[in-house]
Amino acid sequence: MITFQRVFKRYPNGREALAEVSFDLASGEMAFLTGHSGAGKSTVLKLIALLERPTRGQVIVNNRNTASVGSGAIPAFRRQVGMVFQDHKLLADRPIYDNVALPLVIAGVTRRELDKRVRAALDQVGLLGKETSFPLELSAGEQQRVGIARAVISKPPVLIADEPTGNLDPDLALEVMNLFKRLNDVGVTVMVATHDVHLIDRFGVRRIHIEHGQLAGFPPDVAA
């Protein structure tokens, strides 16, 4: 579902973020993307969501080589990739309903189906009944779950998350991670960038570890 073939990424400012990164994440698979801050985790996710393009090498997502996606086709491509962010990226001046419904509104779903699916997505993250609240009225954990509901509402085959538990205390972090696991159980390919050792140990899923822009073996403290 997600394939990196000898991907090399250098930013315009000269920083080399990734060098010769290759991995393959099968459809329905879940993986943690680990590594220190600045190791290149975010770059991997940005390449998957076409927020950046590789300098060299191939990135293939959902059987589509991102090099073949022109700038006009990027929006449609992104609708196939659900994204969750550490800072939620919710629209503060819109109620939860509108925030969650946004991808469907973009996709042009009828009002009736919109209602049904917003409810289903909110139910999924345990926030049914919060439709009319505004993001800042919710706790950090709840906001993150709204972000997840928004990411999955258009049923993307791929879900990526960048440090989704970075701002959460351990209990909430566990709750959010359980949510990703449940989504993976119904067939969504999930990739979560995190450095939360606790969670990595707890969930027995695959790990892709990056050090200085390259795939590396797991550091002993985590692997133990």
């Binding site: 969501a49 927020l51 042009g108 990411a151």
Partner: protein, 326 residues
């Protein structure tokens, strides 16, 4: 886990028919239309300022246009009584003068020609000019024979009168031909030039409206940068992000057009009374004309169109430059 996994429910697939897609499309546009109007209403001062500037910008060429229309209406009445005066060479006998008159009168393009003898001319001049006493001091009558001509109705266009005048001037007995309503043609020419000025002003001020709307939309886009980035992150296309801005721009233009209509109508209403008073003093039934339905439509629809163009240009340019940085 005892409770069913709601993820499975959410991932149940859905199908869309073309009709449903169309109704969704209409629904989205209606929603954009209403919500963009709501945004304008929520910031009344800023919106009123923008609409006010647009309204003034559109009202100015509309008023100039009405000036030309009304001035043309005034001269249109005068042009029908066009007259030529033909002055004959001196010396000339009464017999010769009558022959010339007959010749002119027989022309197809002349309705009638009247001979004015030097004595009649002098009498008329005395009455009209108020120089009666001074003229009595003259020994001889210095006036020549004159013939006043009214052109035939089909030949009263400025071109026809000019060719008539040119032909009469080639007659050996004719000294000079004067078109008494020359000033009407001059006024027409001035009005024609003014019409060009109106077009130019309308063009420049229309461009001004595009720039004003564009600038307002640009500020709006900058203020909603974060929102735009988030929408693009979750797969919103440039067209999707642009739509509400296009509606805002069109609302601004439409509001400006309506305001211009109100301003022009108010100006016409304000001036109608005094101008009718002036007209009645000249025994004229002239009435100040306001905008006709076509003109109103052009003003309002033109305003909306300019607003749309202004927002389209700006939104297309600026939204492409906003890319999510996640």
């Amino acid at each position: 886990m005892s409770r069913p996994n709601p993820a499975k429910v959410a991932y149940a697939s859905g199908r869309r028919s073309p009709l449903a897609a169309l109704s969704t499309w209409v629904e989205r546009h209606v929603q954009s239309l209403v919500s963009s109007l709501g945004k304008l209403v929520r910031q009344p001062f800023a919106s009123a300022l923008t609409i006010g500037v647009i309204g003034l910008g559109l009202a100015l060429p509309a008023c100039l246009h009405l000036v030309v229309v009304n001035a043309s209406a005034v001269t249109a009445g005068i042009e029908k009584t066009v007259q030529l005066s033909v002055y004959l060479k001196q010396p000339m006998t009464a017999e010769q003068a009558r022959k010339v008159r007959q010749g002119i009168d027989a022309r197809d393009d002349v309705l009638d020609a009247q001979l004015v003898t030097p004595a009649e001319g002098l009498k008329e001049f005395e009455e009209m000019s108020g120089f009666g006493e001074a003229l009595k001091a003259l020994d001889d009558n210095p006036l020549p024979y004159a013939i006043t001509i009214r052109p035939a109705p089909l030949f009263d266009s400025p071109e026809a009168i000019e060719s008539l005048s040119d032909e009469l001037e080639t007659l050996p007995e004719v000294e000079i031909v004067q078109v008494d309503t020359e000033w009407v043609r001059r006024l027409d020419a001035i009005l024609g030039a003014l019409e060009q000025v109106v077009l130019l002003a309308a063009g420049l001020l229309g461009l001004g409206v595009v720039v004003i709307v564009g600038n307002t939309i640009r500020l709006d886009i900058n203020g909603r940068r974060e929102e735009i980035e988030v929408i693009k992150l979750v797969g919103g296309s440039n067209a999707f992000v642009r739509r509400p801005f296009l509606y805002s721009g069109t609302w601004y233009g439409l509001g400006g057009g309506l305001l211009a209509w109100i301003l022009v109508s108010a100006a016409v209403g304000f001036l109608a009374g005094p101008i009718e008073k002036v007209a009645s003093l000249y025994a004229s039934s002239f009435r100040l004309q306001g905008l006709d339905p076509d003109g109103i439509l052009a003003l309002v629809a033109g305003g909306a169109l300019l607003g749309w163009v202004g927002s389209w240009v700006t939104a297309t340019y600026h939204l492409r430059r906003i890319e999510p940085r996640a």
